[in-house]
Amino acid sequence: MTASDARTEPASLDARRAELRRALAGVLPAACLLCEAEQTTPFECDGLSAFRQVPLAVALPETEAQVREVLRVCHALYVPVVARGAGTGLSGGAMPSADGLVLSLAKLNRILDIDPLACIARVEPGVRNLAVSEAAAPYGLYYAPDPSSQIACSIGGNVAENSGGVHCLKYGLTVHNVLGVRGYTIDGEEIVLGGAALDTPGLDLLALAIGSEGLLMVVTEVTLKLIPRPKVAQVVMASFDDVVKAGDAVAAIIAAGIIPAGLEMMDRKATQAVEPFVRAGYDLDAEAILLAESDGTAEEVADEIAEIEHVLKAAGSTQCIVSQSEAERLRFWSGRKNAFPAAGRISPDYYCMDGTIPRKHLGRMLRAIEEMEKKHALRCMNVFHAGDGNLHPLILFDAHREGEWARADAFGAGILELCVALGGTITGEHGVGIEKIGSMCVQFVPAERDAFFAIKRAFDPAGLLNPGKAIPTLHRCAEYGRMHVHGGQLPFADLPRF
């Protein structure tokens, strides 16, 4: 799946590379510019290795001024720019362009300021997500969004993808926890959006920038909201003999007026994959388990845990275990947090999906996935951010076996189409990138995609920032339609469209 098009003939690429190299030599130290294939190949993909492309060159600026100059050079030479954080993204959003530059922000990795009084952190984009909470810990504060990759992923990447995590229902996504960004447009103009004050005049361009997948601007500084670390956290682990019952239990908790700090679900295939690996103590006979976390003061947590237990039992839970120590709480979570590596342990490859649906359709979705397993002759294990209705089915396959990737791809597209048909979305937190560009055609009609392009043109008229990602062209959708829509019929034509 190497991206290529007519513009990217080897000879013309070599000439472009030489031209770019000459121009960037004037603005970057030699060690900050990589042009040889053995240097640029490590940047050919992000966390989604199925999509690869070696870039023309890689720039690793060390200062904000260098970022600005690199952008100016690329703008003048009409060279596409793909910004890159830690490269842990799961949708190929940081996959390079063959005729473009990868702009790595990894060296901009300083925490500029932690203000414990204002509960604010100012950081450069290359700072790791977890490093912010570690730096804020001495003040009893932390940064709430916690994607599974938080030990490695960068704040800049989190901003680009509007990353989530397991505590979103109560504490929100990146967009709810970023107060402001500073950065540059493609022509090297400095732009400040939001800031330490809560309201800023004009349109909410900050909301537009967060989750824009590197299509609108390059961020060089981020102002983050820090919140007080709750005094206590406890988790209930509940077993169910039926996945639909587990789904209903999730709705029952919400209906009881409880917003758990985390509310996660794993099906039997997932618990069986992770248990031998992490020994979290999961009930392997259960069809599904739920993890429901409460945090706050000791009194608050004691009350809420009792209430959650009560609701779960009433919803038919066959076993409820409450963590009795911090070590036990972390052990219960370890299985969930290690679901992806566990999938990698039982299968040569896995393909992680990221759709979101209204919670009430969880049971229906799980049954449909079972059918798809038979249809595509592939296994799928399911882990969900159940509280948010955000699904991460992990389709297991072997890329070295003829046709298996194509089947996994079709399986994934089928899940995403059903997400849209059920009133949900093709991506809850991983982004569209290059991976779900076709599925965007299912979720948005041409006029809506035109509106996205209109926004893109307002920020980046030349279309140089991360071209070909996130928003599909008409042409691209026509191609997707030929592949996936048969006889002019959308899949699941019986379902209402929202």
Binding site: A197, D199, E304, Q443, A454
Partner: protein, 353 residues
């Protein structure tokens, strides 16, 4: 498609063809909010009603012309609420107006702003096309976040005909505590408390008294009260007091001859000219009655890392703090892309577009 939406679209298509400006209006409770009102009124209230509400999904979907009061009643029946406490400023306020202005009440600094609870929106653009962004789910990163962009857009990109909002359970219990405190002491208290895990959901300072609201379970409130001290207000008085602050029927907002300025500053900004006569949001929102020159007030706000809005009173300057040149350029380009003939709420967000 229902008839009311079809009529609104026809109206827009015709206005666009004639390049005739339209003034989008719900209940008119926020007519004061914005630079200028230009164009024939499009009354959005005809397109009203709750489209879907399932309490266990924590989502309500409503048409733009739905009265705010109707939505809050429906939510209250299921023990839920709009956490950002949108101000109505009058009985007729609609949800479309609340989202288009993007204004939030006392709980904003603790629970989030209107934009934080927008999950999806429908927009009719200048060509009369109905565009759907976001959705009814908690997490959705497909495409640019246009639904949040529309929140606070004052209708300049098009007509918001429907929104889906995240809702939350109403707090189980609330108590309000009063403290005798000067402005400096009050701010110091607010900042100290904010860095601790306390269930604070509103703070205000005015006239030598700090007022703090706590929301949550009874056990959490008991524990917090022991930490904070203060004198509790009786429940009815407290509710009325916060409502008056949110709706600005509180005497401070009604009385006074001098222009009323709304300063959005970093919560820890020092106290000087911008010290404020009334403070909310732990210090991040400061109301100032002053007849000092607008340029002076704005320069101070900018220096402190914030902005100043001329909220009420004689318009000696623009209402909104000026945009930076690059921001203004991006605004103009977005406006041209969505509304090339400038028919929607021309001049309302800025005299420049």
């Amino acid at each position: 498609m229902d008839a009311s939406l079809a009529r609104l679209r026809e109206r827009i298509v015709a206005a666009n063809a004639a390049q005739a400006p339209l003034r989008l209006r719900g209940g008119g409770s926020k007519d004061f909010y914005g630079e200028t009102l230009i164009g024939d009124v499009v009354d959005t209230r005809e397109h009203a009603g709750i489209v879907a509400y399932e309490p266990s999904e924590l989502v309500i979907t409503v048409r733009g012309g739905t009265p705010l009061a109707e939505i809050e009643d429906a939510l209250a029946q299921h023990g839920q609420c709009l956490p950002f406490e949108p101000p109505a400023f009058g009985g007729g306020a609609t949800i479309g107006g609340a989202i288009a202005t993007g204004l939030s009440g006392p709980r904003r600094a603790y629970a989030g702003a209107a934009r934080d609870f927008v999950l999806g929106a429908h927009l009719v653009d200048a060509q009369g096309e109905l565009l759907r962004f976001g959705g009814q789910v908690m997490k959705n990163v497909a495409g640019f976040d246009v639904s949040r962009l529309l929140c606070g857009s004052l209708g300049v990109l098009g007509l918001i005909t429907q929104v889906s909002l995240k809702v939350l359970p109403r707090p189980r219990e609330e108590i309000t505590l009063r403290f005798d405190a000067g402005i400096a002491d009050a701010l110091a208290m607010f900042h100290r408390w904010r860095a601790q895990p306390l269930p604070i959901t509103a703070t205000a300072w005015h006239d030598s008294a700090a007022t703090v609201r706590l929301s949550g379970s009874s056990s959490a409130l008991r524990a917090a009260r022991a930490t904070l001290g203060g004198t509790p207000m009786n429940d009815a008085d407290a509710q009325a007091w916060w409502l008056a602050l949110r709706q600005q029927t509180y005497e401070f907002f009604r009385d006074g001859d001098k222009p009323l300025w709304r300063l959005s500053l970093p919560a820890t900004a020092p106290i000087d000219i911008s010290g404020g006569d009334l403070i909310e949001w732990s210090g991040a929102l400061r109301w100032l009655r002053s007849d000092a020159p607008a340029a002076e007030i704005r320069a101070t706000a900018s220096r402190l890392g914030g902005t100043a809005m001329l909220w009420r009173g004689a318009r000696t300057a623009s209402m909104f703090h000026p945009l930076s040149p690059i921001q203004l350029e991006l605004h103009k380009r977005l406006k041209r892309q969505f509304d090339p003939h400038g028919i929607f709420n021309r001049g309302r967000l800025s005299a420049k577009f």
